[in-house]
Amino acid sequence: MGAQAQGEGATNMTEAIGIVAAMLSLGTPLVIAGTGEAVLERTGVLNIGIEGMMLAGAFAGFFVCHATGNPWFGIGAAVGTGILLAMVSSILVLGYAVDQVVVGTGINLFSLGATGSLFVAQFGETGRLVSVQTVPKVGGVWALNPLMLIAVCLVLGAWFILKKTNWGLAARATGESPEATSAAGFSPIRIRTQAFLFAGATAGLAGSYLSLAQTNSFAENMTAGRGFVVIAAVTFGRWMPVGASFACLFIALAYGMQFFSKAKDLPVPYQLFDALPYMLALAVLWGVGGGSAAPAKLGIPYRRNQE
């Protein structure tokens, strides 16, 4: 009897480790993308196109890894793709003052279509499973990988830069009043562009995590709204990298529940768990509301020659 209880305890322990490991594994791409989004939103730009940048990163990572056999080349390509899309976005959003939601939507549609058709063009049909080499895993049951370390460094680095450097101060000021930043001798456009490129790089990296670490393949629309969930998490984290990361891990638990529910055969429709991360994100948005902690100029374009 004692042995049985002990066995049960061990199972519970394994399960608990499994859940935490799943949270870390599923949360890492959200944390990576969330860091970039938090920095960018702090400067006053809302990047709806984060979803498309992640998806393009996932495909670029997968594709280059498939071609070269080395996942690190894939990750490099994903970061490059994210930066490229961020460059296009920033030219339109910052240079031409095109509405940020419109540009983001354009990026999302483009990425969805481009990755879908390129996959079909290269591999014949939608839904075909093409496996590639993934980044190495360490840590046994914890299933850690080097990208998690990169994620932690990114979060701490972003926190340090935002809070402790002149650039960070200027960036935060740009989100509140670009006119003031401009008067202080900084260029709000340049600061927002830099933040945009950083956000693009992190979104691309996060995308490659999905195709090269979390799974070992690419599927059409494989981000499935994770980018939007990240935006909600950044709101929940009060536009701070560390806070956003915890919010991302919290929502990652909901993603973990999907696997858990399928394994456990619960008497609840599995679609409820599929919808859980999004409902959680909505609940989080409801909880924090519009809020006064938001950067005052979030989503509002800045025109250089405003008279």
Partner: protein
Amino acid sequence: MTRLALWIAVPLGLIAIIAVLLALFGLPVAESMELIFQGAFGDKFGIHRTIVKSTPLVLVALGLVIAWRAGVFNIGGEGQLITGSICGATLFQLAPNLPGPLLNLLILASCALGGSLFAGIAAWMYAKRGVNVVLSTILLNFVALSLLSFVVRGPLQEPTRSIPQTATLPNEVMFMRLDAQSDLHAGVFVALFACTIVWIWLSFAPSGFKLRLVGSNPNAARSARINPTRVQARALLLSGALCGLAGGVEFVGVSGYLSDGFSPGWGFLAIPVALIGGLHPIGVLPAGLYFGALVAGSKNLEAFGKGSSALVFAMQGVGVLAFAALYEWARRRRERVQPT
């Protein structure tokens, strides 16, 4: 001058985007474009297919126009379309024996109601807590997709319970077919009628004016004692109703049942339609026809050429980016020509 330039630049630009993207994806440009054109306008079937595909695009885009003109970015057309259709299918499940034409109307009405209620969640979150409508409507899309996946395997599954889809509507409930050989159905008139009504309403009715005022200058609206949030929340409800109606028209016009693949993304495809239509209730007609043709034509390309129909999304994405920049450029030119 600028306006004329736009009238010429828009269609030419749209064709150029197709050509550039085809070349970019390594497809034979001339051959693929001919396949797209053949699929969309080549014969009677092509033209009918184009009109059928344009109908939901126009209706959803019209809904988006209403919300966006009021200054609320409704990106949740897809979710509202799906939940609307679920309400329509629920009504059929509850009262399958009503006379055909009446049931047809009731299904359309409940689809519109369902879409409106679903948009109401976002409107409520916005009015009560100031939650960003872009985010809430996007996230609700995913909830709606899960809901659809659940109902076609659960409460609304067809009686034999073998395939994940709802019961098929009998013919007398469906829209009249305008041609015995093709899918062309009477729902196209619903879209035309809706566009006309919304155009008249937005242009001439006091409430339509209020809506545009709130969208273009909320501060002016506030000083005229109009509550912008209330007007925007109502616009969102109306927007959802039109998106739900689009689902209903597709339901009683084409498919007759719901399944996972009920919407190939009409709600997302309609966003560029609304934008390139200049956020104008009549402008969405040519824009909807163009993208309807592209959807119809890309099916032909997929069947006989090498491309994939996902290409349409890529073309739309580039279209949105290019035309947003173009309109911004035109706006600046106008402002420079007529300083106010």
